[in-house]
Amino acid sequence: MSLYPLTAHALLDAFKSGKASAKEAYEDVLGRIKAVEPKVKAYVRQAKTSPDFSGGLPIPIALKDNLCTKQEEITCASRILKGFISPYDGGVIERVKKSGGVIVGFANQDEFAFGSSCETSCYGPTFNPWDLQCVPGGSSGGSAAAVAADEAVWALGSDTGGSIRQPASFCGIVGMKPTYGRVSRYGLIAFASSLDQIGPLTKDVRDCALLMNIIAGYDERDSTSVNEPVPDYTKALVNDVRGLKIGIPKEAFAEGLDPEVRASLEAALALLKKLGAAVKEVTLPHTPYAVATYYIVATAEASSNLARFDGVRYGLRAQPVKARKNALVDMYEETRSRGFGPEAKRRIMLGTYALSSGYYDAYYLRGQKVRTLIKNDLDEVFKDCDAIITPTSPTVAFKIGEKTSDPLSMYLSDIYTIPANLAGIPAISIPGGFSKSGLPIGLQLMGKAFDEEMLLRISYTYEQNTEWHTRKPKL
């Protein structure tokens, strides 16, 4: 029996009944990596620490290359951090290790999570397992591709504007961004601190609940971590949506929505209605401004967070070829110019511009105010709805190289996912169909803060009544 295609819960059943061992599962996944990794390139490096199979949930896991893991090289897919060996475990990594998780390796991503396609990585792109000509999405594209290609049983990613959900959608798997504060950010290399959140990428909704049980919870080392009780998320896996109210924003049918994605969304609405949910048209009038708001707020925070990479203490230090200003400034500039790729430079400069004297009020402060309006829109809808449904992305996976020359068109692919980050609420992407060309289509559900259970319940019900999640790419 092949073990690598199985979900985590199926593997745990097999371990329990003695049909397979954790070591066999791990070795089977390594065999799968050997077979398909040359095509997919989901990983940037294998874990160095030798696996321990004695824990309670010894599931092979892939970690995004921005999650600090003790004695492992962690680089955020950037030249500026090459060779950085983390001296400590982040909060989620401690939890994964405590649960018995077996770390397989570190997955590719856009450099510092700046991108929606995995193409800005200093290691080169990851390829979509469903069509190797296409991107896997981003920024957690390596994590999503690893799970979709069965090179990991599940994975962790981080989501600042859709970086878990959009690649999950492009790769035909489940991806959840939890409520801001639900999961510790301690040890996550920061992109935009008020938006970043770590979350699971899994083969089905039950696995998403299981991985949430492992990673969710308070951590005093993250001052934005929220000390709220953590439920058993598997209890939310109820195949019943009767009486629930699901909002569909009329803004979701905006220009740029692919007709096949739209058709999948409409089919999902019809199915949820048939299963007893009430579907109600709602409005989020300020969401058309979400992308503009995000690219001010996120880049401003990024420019500040990335100021620490200066060659002084750790990471790359590059010596200037010729003297320009003074020795110290020349070293800073040489290090940052050689260490950061073009998209990182672009975002750092954009954020610096939005925060610079004379522009702060016009850009950053204005962005934060529009953020309030977007959050108010969502609060208003949630007074009367249990969840909101939209597509995850306006299109299916695009071709490698298609959007690299036009950053703005790349940014617009996050139009549906960004509002949840700005408002801090949880959101999930689940497999919702396939295009005629055979590429996965994702559906997004957004919920009230700390109501991940509602998203899991609706997703589970949808999944139990469809078969999209059972399909596998041919590799």
Binding site: Y180, Y289, T293, R313, Y332, L350, Y353, Y363, K375, L422
Partner: protein, 95 residues
């Protein structure tokens, strides 16, 4: 408002990035396009709207002022570009 090459040079210097002349044109164009796109926020009336810096408001978070186990000196210095006498060795700052 459009972005000029001079603006990009200025911002690059603030961000401690040395942009070679041949990259300046490309960054001026892409940044100009993005700044033009975000200009749409100027259309909104934001009088009396409070800014949101964190979506989930958390007040001041305190912990007890107690010593806890942390990284040792040698663990911390293992990541240093240069280390000397138990310290991070940094480039000369004041000449």
């Amino acid at each position: 408002m459009s972005i000029s090459k001079k603006d990009v040079k200025y911002v690059a210097a603030l961000a401690r990035i040395d942009l070679p002349e041949e990259d300046l044109e490309g960054f001026t164009q892409t940044l100009g396009k993005i700044v033009h796109y975000v200009e749409q926020l100027q259309k909104l009336n934001l009088d009396n709207v409070k800014p949101t810096s964190h979506a989930v408001p958390v007040g001041n978070v305190f912990r007890s002022d107690a010593v806890k186990p942390s990284l040792t000196n040698s663990q911390s210095l293992a990541i240093a570009v240069e280390a000397k006498d138990g310290c991070f060795k940094v480039p000369l700052v004041i000449e």
